[in-house]
Amino acid sequence: MYEELKGLGFTVITVAVDKSADDARPWIEAAKPTHPSLIDTAHVLADLYNVVNVPTILWIDERGRIVRPNDVAFGTDTFKYITGLSAATHLAALRAWVRGEAPALPEARIRALQSLPTDDDQRARAEFGLGEWLFNQGRTEAAGRHFAKAGELAPHDFTIRRGTMPMRGIDPMGPQFREMLGSWVKAGNPYYRPLAE
């Protein structure tokens, strides 16, 4: 998709929200991307853009304006059987926008669809930030306390609740994740929140 569209004044920037470059390395080395493929261990992007789960995508236009706010889109249909989201829908819209065949969303619609952080979201990110620093000092137990507090402050933030599992010695695909996901969904909450369109 990037190779097809890059001649049209377009780039992809991927950001791995992982605890270390080595966690993201196998993915990046397998994909061999020619676009910027970045690592965000400190959740810089998550804090700036209120990213609460992955994958999260945004469209940014030539003037540096957000023209599609945080949305859920997959590059392939690998997880469609779980998510119900088809990659083709987003790819078609993206292609049309990049080729200039269709405008992005109107500003009023972007604002209506945007999800903005609350005080508790930002408190959670501060707890995460302290936890991440402590983890890197080898203070794993203390880090775990702050990750837990962060998760309580922002239970919908899976970059924190799931993303810190590898730093707490928990398998992020394992039974504790499935249990967390199960109780979240059972309480009527969606794990993925694609834009309502």
């Binding site: 049209l8 377009f10 780039t11 992809v12 920037i13 950001v15 791995a16 992982d18 470059a21 966690d23 993201a24 390395r25 993915w27 080395e29 910027p36 493929s37 970045l38 690592i39 965000d40 810089v44 992007l45 998550a46 804090d47 700036l48 853009y49 209120n50 990213v51 995508i57 945004l58 469209w59 940014i60 236009d61 030539e62 003037r63 304006r65 957000i66 023209v67 590059g75 990049v98 972007i110 604002r111 945007q114 903005l116 952080p117 609350t118 005080d119 930002q122 408190r123 990110r125 501060a126 707890e127 930030g129 302290l130 620093w133 203070r139 306390r145 702050h146 970059t159 993303g163 599992m165």
Partner: protein, 95 residues
């Protein structure tokens, strides 16, 4: 002795080593100014975050906040380097 103990203040993502009196005072000032603060007195460290009000103001302007992050080789890239292009920004993870 207690007031000579070291304390780490992480502000703007950067860690600074100060003494405990100075560190806790900085944390209190940040909190008083409306910033979220995570503090651990046993570990003698505090993280000064960015308020929801500041983040909401930036996002609601629809100006994409700039960021600078490394690639696998440690080379830094900024969003602003791509001004003039349409950008698909993708956050993903191995987990």
């Amino acid at each position: 002795m207690a007031d000579n103990r070291r304390f780490t203040v992480i502000d703007g993502g950067r860690a600074a080593d100060v003494d405990e009196v100075e560190g806790t005072a900085r944390a209190r000032r940040a909190e008083a100014s409306g910033r979220p603060v995570a503090i651990d007195l046993d570990e003698r460290a505090a993280y000064l975050g960015v308020s929801a009000a500041e983040r909401v103001k930036a996002l609601a302007s629809l100006e994409a906040p700039d960021f600078t992050l490394p690639d696998l080789d440690g080379r830094l890239h900024s969003l602003s380097q791509h001004r003039g292009k349409k950008v698909l920004l993708v956050a993903y993870a191995s987990w």
